[in-house]
Every structure is written in structure tokens, then in C-alpha cells.
């Protein structure tokens, strides 16, 4: 456990070095968020029908989405990808740690450090000037924080499954092209899940991805009451467990047939 903690913290600090990228990202995210906010404003004035969420809640949801965009499992660990390609992955095998757990630790750092760099300034600016609301209540705020931990674990489990898939070099990389669009759409990042057609609601909520974006954000705005935090956590953790088990199996199988090339 100590080894893993050290690994998370080392990667976390390494990823915190990319400050100028985060700053450039901040400008992009602000601009992008503003477009989304204006589009929703325009939609809301177009319809007198009652909507599944209020405009203020949607705006808050949008800013949270941009602040925590990189929590989504939208990419793999670049260093691991290079390592698999160059053969450097053999060093990883020599380390006195369980390989899956070590990579999982890296995934945790990958999903948190860049997000922190972006979230703090973005949320500050959005709260001051761009209509980001405070959490619905202190309980809602607490439920949000706890569910974000669940979201990070779930996202790291998915990220690590993609990492593990890289061991099968070509087919693994194909998975990394095809998976992100589905993750982004069904997490609620493009449109909050409550706006999806009613007939699709249950299916989308049962999928793992809503646990990364939609559930924590709706806890924040009070659209899901804090009393339902248990359901959200259960959903996140069950899916995390599934992804971890599958990931471990796949890794074991991948290592059995691994050929190391080059020297």
C-alpha cells in the first residue's frame, strides 16, 4: 500500500508540472463553456414546456463539466503507451509490485492532477462572473465531494482497462479511438442525462458512465437529493469492481502471451 501511495503522489506531482498547458486549457474551457451556456439559454427561451432541469442548474452543471473534464476516462497513460511500444514495459514487470495495482495508481494520478490544475481557477472565475452556483445545501456539497471520489475511482478503473488493452498493441489502440466518444456522450458531458429522451433514461443511467459526470453534478445542484448518495456510490463502486476484475483478467492473459521485442 505504501508503494502505491508513493506512486500516486509521485505521478501527481509530475503531472502538476504541466501548468502552461493547464492555463491554455483554461482559456479554451472558459470559451467553450460560454458557448454551451448561451446555447442552453437560447433553448430555454424557445420553449414553454417544463424541463427536467432548471436553467440555473444546467449552467452550474456545464461549468462543473468543464472544470472536471479531464476526470473523464478520455485518454490513456501516454507514458505507458510509449513503454509498450518501445519494450520498456519489461522494467515495469521487474518491479516488486502488482502490475495492475501500480498502473491503477498511475491512473488515479492521471485523473486527478490535471483536473485540479484546471478546476480551481475555472470554478473560481465561473463562480465570480459566470453564474456558477454554490451547492444546493451543505449536505449536497458533501455528497458531491464523496461522489467525486467514487467518480475518480470509476474513471481510473476504466482508464486502466484501456491501459491494459494497450498490451495488445494494435487492437488495444483501436479501442482507445473508439471508446471515448461513448464515454463522453453517455456520461452527460455533452448534454445532461435528464434531457435525454425518457425512454432512454433507465438504460443510460444503468451504464457506468453517468457515475463519472451526471450523478455527482446532480447531487451538487440538488437534482438528486443527498439521501440518495448511497445509490450513486453503489452504482459507481459496482461498475468499478467490474472494470477492475475484467482489467486484471485481461492483464494476466496479456502477460502470458507477451513477447518482448527489441533490446
Amino acid at each position: 500500500m505504501r508503494g502505491h501511495r508513493a506512486l500516486v503522489s509521485a505521478r501527481f506531482r509530475a503531472l502538476l508540472q504541466y501548468r502552461s498547458a493547464a492555463l491554455a486549457g483554461l482559456g479554451t474551457q472558459l470559451f467553450w463553456g460560454l458557448i454551451r451556456v448561451m446555447i442552453f439559454e437560447a433553448f430555454f427561451v424557445s420553449s414553454v414546456m417544463s424541463q427536467p432541469m432548471e436553467l440555473g442548474d444546467v449552467i452550474t452543471y456545464i461549468w462543473l463539466g468543464h472544470a472536471f473534464l479531464v476526470v473523464l476516462p478520455w485518454n490513456v497513460d501516454r507514458e505507458l503507451q510509449t513503454m509498450v511500444r518501445s519494450g520498456g514495459v519489461t522494467y515495469e514487470l521487474l518491479r516488486p509490485m502488482n502490475l495492475y495495482n501500480a498502473w491503477f495508481s498511475r491512473a488515479i494520478a492521471l485523473r486527478t492532477a490535471p483536473a485540479m490544475l484546471r478546476a480551481v481557477p475555472l470554478l473560481t472565475i465561473a463562480a465570480l462572473f459566470l453564474d456558477l452556483q454554490a451547492p444546493e445545501s451543505p449536505e449536497a456539497g458533501l455528497a458531491f465531494v464523496i461522489s467525486m471520489i467514487g467518480a475518480v475511482i470509476l474513471s481510473a478503473a476504466i482508464t486502466n482497462l484501456l491501459n491494459v488493452a494497450l498490451v495488445w498493441v494494435t487492437s488495444g489502440e483501436r479501442l482507445t479511438y473508439l471508446a471515448p466518444p461513448f464515454v463522453v456522450l453517455f456520461s452527460g458531458n455533452i448534454v445532461p442525462i435528464p434531457f435525454f429522451p425518457d425512454w432512454a433514461q433507465t438504460a443510460i443511467r444503468l451504464m457506468p458512465f453517468s457515475g463519472i459526470v451526471d450523478s455527482p453534478f446532480r447531487l451538487y445542484v440538488g437534482h438528486i437529493p443527498p439521501s440518495e448518495l448511497g445509490f450513486v456510490l453503489a452504482h459507481q463502486l459496482i461498475w468499478s469492481a467490474i472494470f477492475i476484475v475484467v482489467g486484471k483478467r485481461m492483464l494476466a492473459q496479456g502477460l502470458r502471451r507477451m513477447e518482448v521485442q527489441g533490446g
Binding site: 486549457g25 433553448f43 424557445s46 424541463q51 466518444p181
Partner: protein
């Protein structure tokens, strides 16, 4: 003759690029599918919102889809044909740009011909599907002139997006680094102008009319084709001619590029 010769060289560049990418056919197919899905979810998002709200101000889904199609096709063409400018920051950093300067062709031509990125075919296909669906769903009375305007708008849009990439690359002469912030006007521009610009707040709308004139290739020509009145009060003639601003913009950015090349200092090594 010079121009014809340049075009011939450019096509030859592209041919080589296509051949090399076709060596990895399966990878190409998967990348394109990924792109198709990646850009397709944007449209699913729009569809979801129209399902809920019915309309956007007084715009219906097929009308917005029409603009969406034009903008995405235009951007896909640019994305495929001017990749060299996109990766230009790397070239400046490594000093590879020096090599281009020694060749007897213009630098802009060589950069544009660097690579024809075929994976953009995903966005192109998606844009085409949406545009064709919109055109049939709208039940418009098509005239030759309107069809020509669609082509004009797409080409004008591709020119405008190319101009933006040229501008982004030009900045790298001074910053030696590609600026992510420019993505706000390229990718952000695609996002913005796939909706009618009149839905935005006036200051924001004006940016996309006067500064980065993307509205001239999506919004104004679409009004003419859809037969809608413009709340901004432009004339039909203006709407037909407005995609020309895309070409004007590209010409202007190429002048800025020339200026940048004049100020280029190699990073050495």
C-alpha cells in the same frame, strides 16, 4: 503557368501522403470510425436538445442541421488538407522549417502539402450525411443557384478555416509553440457556427461576423438557401456573396504568413 505547376506539385504531395497512409489500412479504418463517432455525438447532442425543446428560438432541427453540415464539411476539408500548418510549432522547434526554406517552392505550399490526413474522412462523411438529411427534410425548392451557393459556402468555409490555421502557425514564429488557445476559434468556431449566430449575445455574435467571419460561410448563405428573413437585415445579394469573405480572409492571413517567414529565425540544431 506558375499556378498550374504549383497545383501539380501540391497534388503530387497529397498523392504520396495518401499512399503512405494506405499502408496501414486497418488503422486508417478504425481512426476514421473513431472520428465519425467522435463528431457524430455532437449531432446526437443537438438532436437530444431539439427533442426536449422543440425548437431553438424559431429555428427547427433540419435548419440547424443544414448549417451544421456546411460547417463540418468545410472544417473536415481544411483539417485534411492543411495538417502541416497545424503541426507547424513542432517544425519551428526542431529547426525542420529550415529545410523548407531551401526548396524552390513557396513555404505555404509545402506546408499545405505535408500531409493529407485521411482520418478526417469521418467528419466529412458525418457532415455530408447530416447535410443530405437536412436538405431532404426541409423540402426546399432547389435551384441551380442555390446548389452553387452550398458549394460556394463550403469552399469559402474551408478557406476561412485554413486561414485560421495559417494564422495559428504564423504565431509560432514568435512563440515557437503551437497555441492551444487558437483552438477556441477553430474547433470553437465549428461549435459556434453550427448554430445560427443570432442566438448568441450580441458581442459574441459580432466576433463571428466581424473578427473571425465564420458567420459569412454558414449563417448568411444558409438564410438565402432556407429562404429566411435576416433579423440583422442583410440583403439577399449579400447573403449570396458572403462566402467570398472566407477567401479574402485566407488571402489576408497568407500575407501575414509571408511577413512571419521574413522574420523567421531558426532555433538552430
Amino acid at each position: 503557368m506558375r499556378i498550374l505547376d504549383n497545383i501539380r506539385v501540391y497534388l503530387r504531395f497529397l498523392e504520396v501522403s495518401v499512399k503512405s497512409q494506405m499502408q496501414y489500412r486497418a488503422s486508417f479504418v478504425m481512426l476514421s470510425l473513431g472520428h465519425l463517432a467522435g463528431t457524430g455525438i455532437e449531432f446526437i447532442g443537438i438532436w437530444v436538445l431539439f427533442e426536449r425543446f422543440g425548437s431553438l428560438k424559431d429555428w427547427a432541427l433540419p435548419e440547424v442541421a443544414f448549417m451544421y453540415g456546411i460547417v463540418n464539411i468545410a472544417f473536415a476539408i481544411t483539417d485534411a488538407a492543411t495538417r502541416g500548418f497545424d503541426a507547424f510549432g513542432v517544425m519551428v522547434k526542431s529547426g525542420d522549417f529550415d529545410r523548407l526554406l531551401t526548396r524552390p517552392r513557396s513555404t505555404a505550399l509545402q506546408l499545405a502539402g505535408q500531409e493529407l490526413t485521411l482520418r478526417g474522412v469521418g467528419r466529412l462523411l458525418q457532415g455530408l450525411i447530416v447535410l443530405v438529411w437536412a436538405a431532404t427534410a426541409l423540402d426546399l425548392d432547389w435551384t441551380v443557384l442555390k446548389v452553387l451557393l452550398v458549394v460556394f459556402a463550403v469552399l469559402g468555409g474551408a478557406a476561412l478555416f485554413s486561414g485560421l490555421l495559417v494564422l495559428q502557425a504564423t504565431l509560432a514564429f514568435w512563440t515557437t509553440e503551437s497555441l492551444e488557445i487558437m483552438n477556441t476559434v477553430t474547433y470553437g468556431g465549428v461549435e459556434t457556427t453550427q448554430y445560427p449566430v443570432t442566438i448568441y449575445r450580441p458581442w459574441f455574435r459580432d466576433i463571428f461576423i466581424f473578427v473571425v467571419p465564420l458567420a459569412t460561410v454558414s449563417y448568411f448563405p444558409s438564410l438565402a438557401i432556407l429562404g429566411r428573413d435576416d433579423p440583422l437585415g442583410t440583403s439577399l445579394l449579400f447573403q449570396y456573396l458572403s462566402p467570398a469573405f472566407g477567401f479574402v480572409f485566407l488571402a489576408a492571413t497568407l500575407r501575414v504568413w509571408q511577413f512571419g517567414v521574413g522574420h523567421y529565425r531558426s532555433t538552430g540544431s
